[in-house]
């Protein structure tokens, strides 16, 4: 671990004001500290935001929830309003990490987890995300856990979060405070960036911009599901995960919202999947069409090829569950 400066902030405004070059905010530290020990992250300064007053979950007048950035994953998963109205989020949180980690991990930090790509974690290997311009070791290497959608020739990393996948299916909005004191609200659909030629830039956050809240819109109609497929029963990242919200009216799919983990460099959502579903009567043919839409541009890199048929099967199973269609 490289030596670094440390400052404790007592307000969001003070936190952003304390930012200089090479500064990172630290809350639970469940990902950042590991990366610092391995010198994958080498900040010059940490601004500790863990004591800020951002750990509440509040209902808004429009029926939605405003979640403080410091709400621990455990608390968010157990909140009765989340359990009842946003079950997909509660289940996604509980599918992630371990009890101890969920107690420490914050809502804002979870959104900003770095990839678990093996080569990102190995400072002796080239990695464009860690050291831009050095190359991608995962392409042509072992890439079992890596992405099949949204990749570039520079990077095929996946985003590891479960929570963020559910948030994307729920159309969450991320509220921030910028270094200049401005606030902004960013749709989760615009929050993450594809790797392209700059895989080191993962979100639209500007330097020193602090996530203060995440807003969920009013509870969606219909049934919700989160299904995570992984190599062991717990404490493993998703090979494929599906967050789904779907309602059926008059025998037809009235609304559908699907996001996917383990497939892309960001929590993945594709309007074509929903377009293939909405207005149709549930049937295996319709589900197949949705899966085809999702995976039309999927590209395997060898050891992750299996994710493509796996994602197809899991999406179809989720659609059957959500619509009550028997297989």
């Amino acid at each position: 671990m490289k030596t670094f400066d440390y400052a404790k902030a007592d307000s969001p405004e003070a936190a952003v004001a304390a930012v200089g070059t090479g500064t990172k905010f630290i809350a639970g530290g469940t990902n950042l500290l590991d990366l610092m020990k391995l010198q994958i992250e080498t900040p010059d300064k940490l601004v500790d935001i863990s004591r800020l007053d951002l750990a509440q979950i509040e209902e808004r007048e429009d029926g939605g929830l405003t979640i403080g950035a410091l709400v621990p994953n455990s608390d968010l998963a157990a909140d009765p309003r989340v359990v009842e109205h946003y079950a997909v989020l509660s289940r996604a949180l509980l599918a992630g990490a371990s009890g101890q980690l969920r107690n420490k991990a914050s809502t804002g930090g979870n959104l900003l987890q770095r990839t678990r790509c093996y080569y990102f974690y190995d400072t002796a290997m080239p990695c464009n995300k860690r050291e831009p311009g050095t190359g991608c070791s995962a392409i042509g290497g072992f890439n079992r856990i890596l992405a099949v959608l949204g990749t570039s020739e520079q990077c095929i990393a996946t985003h590891p979060s479960d929570m963020a996948v559910a948030m994307r299916a729920l159309d969450a909005t991320i509220v921030t405070l910028k270094a200049d004191g401005d606030r902004r609200r960013i749709s989760i659909h615009e929050f993450y960036r594809l790797p392209g030629d700059t895989p080191e830039i993962e979100t639209v956050l500007e330097p020193g911009e602090l996530i203060t809240h995440v807003e969920l819109p009013a509870p969606p109609k219909g049934n919700q599901i989160y299904r995570k497929v992984r190599d062991r029963a717990s404490y493993a990242f998703a090979l494929v995960s599906v967050a789904g919200v779907l309602s059926v009216e008059d025998g037809k799919i009235a609304s559908a919202s699907f996001a996917f983990g383990g497939l892309g460099p960001m929590p993945w959502r594709d309007a074509a999947v929903e377009a293939a579903l909405v207005g149709k009567a549930p049937s295996d043919a319709v589900f197949e069409a949705a899966a085809t839409a999702l995976l039309a541009d999927a590209k395997g890199y060898g050891s992750n090829d299996f994710k493509i048929p796996l994602a197809r099967r899991v999406l179809i199973a989720c659609l059957r569950d959500l619509t009550g269609a028997a297989s």
Partner: protein, 743 residues
């Protein structure tokens, strides 16, 4: 009277004093005596000794391979705050750990880097953090490699050499295998592969090295076999073994990875000598993966031929394994194949593929753990092909003596284990493959035999009774989490009639008599026998003081009873106390009988019809391993072994990047050992057994029996569940997906 009793196992020991002891300790499911210390953080592990002026060492591994080091650029980091020095010694540093039990130094010399991650320097600093930061910044310059790296097993698999005979012969042949295969009405010829694995012990390799004012090197180390480790380390450092003391009182798991001296101990000892102060060095988890020892990957071709009734006429087991140049150890996959089933025509071969990967060596049940994945899956496949129950197939092929040497089995209850397990597990509920469904899951049952060769090693112990009537047991035997402290206390307490709380067991210090160390499941039998013999000697001394024959003496609750008198041990032994040494050594019984522990594993698994995910639903192991000394610690050993079996079957896969030999998954996030959620209810049953040929305890090894065959039962259950036979371990979902019904 001599106060030492030695026994070489040349003859059986028909009676055991453990059967006539009066204290009632043997076999009881007693809690481990050091448990409270461990759970309260008061058991001191290697890296926890707070020595004065201790400095912190962090190892530098090579990030290249097959180049000659031209420079270790240390100057830039020496000026960093807190950094004391960067120590290198290209000739003396250990290239890789030594194997267990060897008395030679580990392979030394690190200038020509043999594999990626090889330890080439140690950074020493006033704090761990400073050392870690500096170690990260050290630049190791090197030449271009002289040879092309051999990083890909697939491209190297045709270039083999025949390793030197080791625990078993590399090659073995009896009869005419090819002829028998050609004639057999039922034949199976299939190949299984298993990947490299890592022991992944909870405690990483760790050493605190301290040269004291007398020039003695004191090593507080996480080591399984201090007696031989001491000799290995002394030779590596060029000092007399009498100048090295190893202290290994508590060890956070070893599973073979801590059998031999590893690079961190050599580096820490050299740095401590050079700097004149104690140096503590704990390997980073990535270094444990990269620079200690792995279980070899294997490719195992199984050939079975059987007559119409299922009687085996041919068994062929050909293994390809791998190791570094110059290393003799080969994974002895065919170990149990030599004696598990009868068949006239047999070939059991091991050939070596040389790779520029880290050392391959012992990991829990070397040979059996992966060998029985192949053999026991093959038996399942053959039973299916013949159309008989796999348990019946094993009955048909149960040999009445060793099928190769014709010597008798010392004790063997394999078929009883299978039958007892079948009854208890509900084996009769097993249906045709792919026909049992529970919601989205296909459910299947599987069975496999377990066998692990029983070994006895030289072991010595000293037992003392003091004026308070309390006993002390001393040996440099270790407790790596297995229960040694407890069972040695039980044996001494039983034979001396002293309550367990009045028996102090002191382990893991080479100043004590040399014990067997922990490995090969020989610990309890070997070190327990040495304690037994010391106590036998003490009983004779006590009998003499009582004026009775030893046979007429009863020792119970701190008292000697004989000739109608009851005298306290305290009074009998007086101020000077009594002491005795015991030593056991293997003898002719090793060759005169075939010694092994046996068992049967049963597994029920679910295979998800959508995803191919496999989850174990329940397991049962029925074991016969001679006398069970402590029902609880023995059971725990079996549970741990069965859990290893789940990992071997389903999750563990140490991946070498074929482009450069680098380990891809060198942390516990991506090297998947089973977590709690992967381990369902596991049941363990022990059959009553005594083995008079094994040792005076009549006990056999158990630490590795639980893993042997466990993974095969799971693999066979996967097949029974979904009809997909995966021969490439671990059975991850991607290997099942294609065989599942369409959605």
């Amino acid at each position: 009277m001599s106060n030492s009793t030695n026994l070489t196992m040349d003859k059986p020991t028909p009676t055991s004093l453990l059967d006539t002891g009066a204290q009632g300790l043997i076999g009881e499911p007693l809690q481990r005596t050091e448990g409270p210390l461990k759970v309260s953080g008061n058991a001191t592990y290697a890296a926890e000794y707070a020595l004065e002026k201790v400095a912190y060492g962090v190892l530098v591994g090579s990030d290249f391979t097959l180049g000659k080091i031209t420079k270790v650029d240390a100057e830039s980091v020496k000026s960093l705050p807190g950094v004391i020095d960067v120590v290198t010694d290209f000739d003396s540093f250990a290239r890789n750990p030594q194997q267990g039990g060897e008395t030679k130094a580990p392979t030394q010399g690190v200038e020509d880097v043999a594999y990626r991650g090889e330890i080439v320097a140690i950074v020493v600093a006033e704090s761990f953090e400073a050392a870690r930061d500096a170690a990260h910044r050290v630049v190791v310059e090197h030449d271009a490699p002289k040879a092309e790296g051999r990083y890909d097993f697939e491209t190297q698999r045709h270039k083999t050499d025949k390793p030197a005979d080791d625990q078993i012969p590399a090659h073995f042949s009896q009869g005419d295998l090819a002829g028998a295969m050609a004639e057999a009405p039922h034949v199976l010829d299939v190949t299984y592969t298993t990947p490299s694995q890592n022991s992944a012990a909870m405690e990483p390799h760790a050493t605190t090295a301290h040269w004291d004012e007398d020039g003695i090197l004191n090593i507080y180390g996480a080591y399984q076999m201090p007696s031989s480790d001491k000799q290995q380390l002394a030779k590596a450092l060029g000092v007399s073994a009498s100048k090295v003391r190893i202290i290994a009182r508590y060890i956070g798991g070893g599973f073979g990875s801590k059998l031999g001296i590893a690079p961190e101990a050599v580096a820490a000892a050299i740095a401590a000598r050079q700097l004149g102060r104690p140096v503590k060095c704990v390997m980073a988890r990535s270094q444990v993966f990269e620079a200690t020892v792995r279980r070899s990957n294997t490719e195992q071709r199984m050939r079975l031929g059987a007559d119409a009734q299922g009687k085996l006429t041919a068994i062929g087991h050909d293994s390809l394994v791998s190791n570094l140049d110059g290393e003799d150890f080969f994974e002895p996959c065919g170990m149990a194949t030599h004696f598990l089933y009868a068949a006239e025509n047999r070939e059991i071969n091991h050939d070596m593929v040389r790779l520029d990967w880290l050392l391959a060596g012992s990991m829990r049940a070397p040979g059996e753990a992966v060998g029985q994945l192949a053999l026991e899956c093959a038996m399942d496949e053959l039973a299916e092909a013949i159309g008989i129950d796999p348990i019946e197939l094993r009955h048909i092929n149960e040999p009445d003596c060793d099928p190769e040497t014709q010597v008798p089995f010392s004790s063997r209850q394999l078929t009883r284990c299978l039958d007892e397990g079948a009854r208890k597990f509900g084996w009769d509920k097993r249906a045709a493959p792919g026909t049992t469904r529970d919601g989205e899951w296909l459910v299947g049952l599987g069975v496999a035999a377990a066998a692990r060769g029983n070994m006895l090693q030289k072991s010595a112990a000293k037992v003392t009774i003091n004026v308070l009537g309390k006993a002390t047991v001393e040996t440099d035997m270790t407790d790596i989490g297995t229960g040694t402290y407890t069972i040695l206390g039980q044996i001494a307490g039983e034979l001396l009639g002293i309550p367990l709380e009045d028996v102090e067991v002191k382990l893991g210090d080479t100043n004590s008599p040399p014990g067997a160390g922990s490995g090969g499941s020989w610990g309890a039998g070997s070190s327990g026998s040495s304690v037994y013999l010391a106590c036998e000697n003490l009983r004779e001394q006590i009998a003499e003081k009582m004026g009775v024959a030893a046979e007429g003496l009863t020792l119970k609750d701190g008292h000697a009873i004989g000739d109608n008198r009851r005298v306290s041990l305290s009074e009998l032994v007086g101020d000077r106390g009594l002491s005795a040494e015991g030593a056991i050594a293997p003898g002719k019984q090793e060759k005169d009988t075939r010694q092994s522990s046996y068992g049967a594993h049963f597994a029920e698994v679910g295979v998800n019809t959508t995803t191919g995910e496999v989850r174990v639903r329940r397991m049962l192991g029925v074991f016969a391993a001679g006398r069970i000394l402590n029902e609880k610690t023995a059971r725990s050993q079996c549970l741990g072994g069965m859990t290893f079996g789940i990992g071997a079957a389903l999750t563990e896969d140490l991946i070498h990047d074929p482009r450069n030999g680098k380990l891809v998954n060198r942390d516990l996030a991506e090297y998947h050992v089973p977590v709690n959620a992967d381990v369902p209810q596991l049941d363990v049953v022990f059959l009553e057994e005594r083995d008079v040929h094994a040792n005076p305890l009549h006990a056999k090894g158990i630490g590795e029996l639980g893993i042997s065959g466990a993974g095969a039962a799971i693999a066979n259950a996967v097949y029974n569940a979904c009809g997909v036979r995966v021969r490439d371990f671990p059975i991850t979902l991607d290997k099942i997906l294609d065989g599942l019904p369409a959605m």
